[in-house]
Amino acid sequence: MIHAETTTLPQRSFGATMRTDGWWTQPLLVFLGLGTFIVYSTWAAFQGAHYFLGNYISPFYSPEFFGPSPHNWFGPKPAWWPAWLLFSPALLILWAPGGFRLTCYYYRGAYYKAFWADPPACTVGEPRKTYLGERSFPLIMQNVHRYFLYVALIFIAILATDVWKALWFADPVSGKTSFGIGVGTIVLAINVVLLGGYTFGCHSLRHLIGGFRDQLSKSTSCYRAYACVSCFNRRHMLWAWMSLFWVGFSDLYIRLCATGIWHDLRII
């Protein structure tokens, strides 16, 4: 395209920088945060047990298409499921939120730095000389993000109905359900709010809902929706971390209650 003369300062080696501040703290925190979540969620997804407690279900396992809990949609583990293939209701669905986060613009930028050192931090030397970016395979695949968004929006609705279900407790003796609120209900409700804040601030949603237009004001509804998504979008990173932490905690809460280590407190 344009002829450019090469620079005189040489390419820096990995980690070389003139920065005097603690540039490595942020990528390290991202590495530890995401790493812990990946390890925990993988472990939890493979358990296939202790993911529900009465009317509560862990967000890692919802929707439960097939599975042993009363929350399942289409019955228990299907008979045609090959015996050699490990079965867990979470493994059937976790690709969706996983893929959504993996292709999220915020997380991409964050894990390219923390997990791939591309770059390790701003103005810090990189380990590799070659660079492809998101222009060619494999990273060109990140462009599917909006399709994961469509699925994520459906998940928000499903998790919201889980909160609704978490408001109705069955009496252990008579079996009659009555309205109530437990700590678990609140945990699941916060989870949906945080996941909603994250999903409704998605860059792809911001584009699809109005950002693609140059004359936004022509459609009042588009304009309002764009303004609303932009508002969530401004704090997308914060929503991303809060929702990530809380979805993990929600699973942990239900898991610990289901195994009897913690006891769910009934507030109302």
Binding site: A4, G109, C122, T123, E126, Y131, R135, N143, H203, D214
Partner: protein, 261 residues
């Protein structure tokens, strides 16, 4: 009166053939910025020290340099914000060829700019040759007009800085320039093909260093690059997008007066 506080400035001296860091000491007084120190050193100790500056108010974009390893405007970097117990390093921008000392040859940027399709407004809305726009529509591009062309974002971008893809990638400054034109409510030009091909938007891996260093606090990545990436997805990577455009084209053909969306 207590003796004036001193600080060491480690300034890169050299030209395109090479160079070295040299240490200078200068007195520090209240409200001082790095450019003051550099000017003082130039006046008292190194008359041949080359540096560029003009407004001393963060508005001309000429005093760009790397201070303690981070791209910054020298005139907007207060000494009180730097750790003065260690030398303050001042060096030229790494992504561009050195000319002398703190001065680099940024002309590549101006050549890149020439390749971008210019503003092409629709025909005037009123008989007197003027247009009507809603403020709500122009708000978005106004942010990009704040750019002072300091090229700090170009300097910090690892695609240019470390991988030297100056031939394949226009850099963040010109992506916001394209965004300002492309999202303009009056503009009718189409720049999406070039964005993907010659301007190489796919090289950006949204690591946001450009946004971090921009002295005008332009949200380069979130408000310009990502929305442009989404427009590229519309055209090249989204099968639903193809169908949508095909249907739109058809309906536009049926109503010939249709204006830009």
């Amino acid at each position: 009166m207590s003796p004036q506080k001193q600080a060491t400035f480690r300034i890169w001296r050299g030209d395109r053939l090479g160079g070295e860091f040299r240490d200078y000491t200068a007195g520090v007084s209240e409200g001082m910025v790095v450019l003051d120190a550099v000017n003082h050193i130039q006046a008292t100790q190194a008359n041949d020290l080359a540096c560029r500056w003009n407004c001393k108010a963060g508005k001309c974009g000429s005093c760009s340099a790397e201070i303690n390893g981070l791209p910054k405007l020298m005139c907007m970097t207060r000494l009180s914000d730097l750790p003065l117990d260690q030398p303050v390093t001042v060096q030229p921008m790494k992504a561009f060829p050195a000319i002398k000392d703190l001065i680099t040859d940024v002309s590549w940027n101006f050549r890149v700019k020439k390749n971008i399709k210019p503003f092409k407004p629709r025909s005037p809305d009123a008989p007197d040759g003027t247009w009507r726009m809603a403020q709500a529509d122009i708000d978005r591009v106004q942010e990009f007009r704040k750019c002072i062309e300091c090229f700090l974002c170009q300097d910090v971008c690892h695609v240019l800085r470390d991988h030297q893809k100056h031939e394949q990638f226009t850099g963040p400054r010109y992506l916001i320039y394209v965004a300002a034109l492309e999202m303009h409510p009056l503009d009718t030009e189409d720049r999406i093909d070039e964005l993907r091909n010659t301007q190489g938007i796919g090289y950006c891996n949204i690591t946001k260093c450009c946004t971090k260093v921009c002295p005008e606090s332009i949200q380069i990545t979130d408000n310009a690059i990502i929305p442009l990436k989404e427009r590229v997805v519309d055209r090249f990577y989204d099968p639903f997008g193809w169908i949508w455009r095909w249907m739109k084209k058809k309906s536009d053909r049926q109503s010939p007066n249709a204006v830009k969306r």
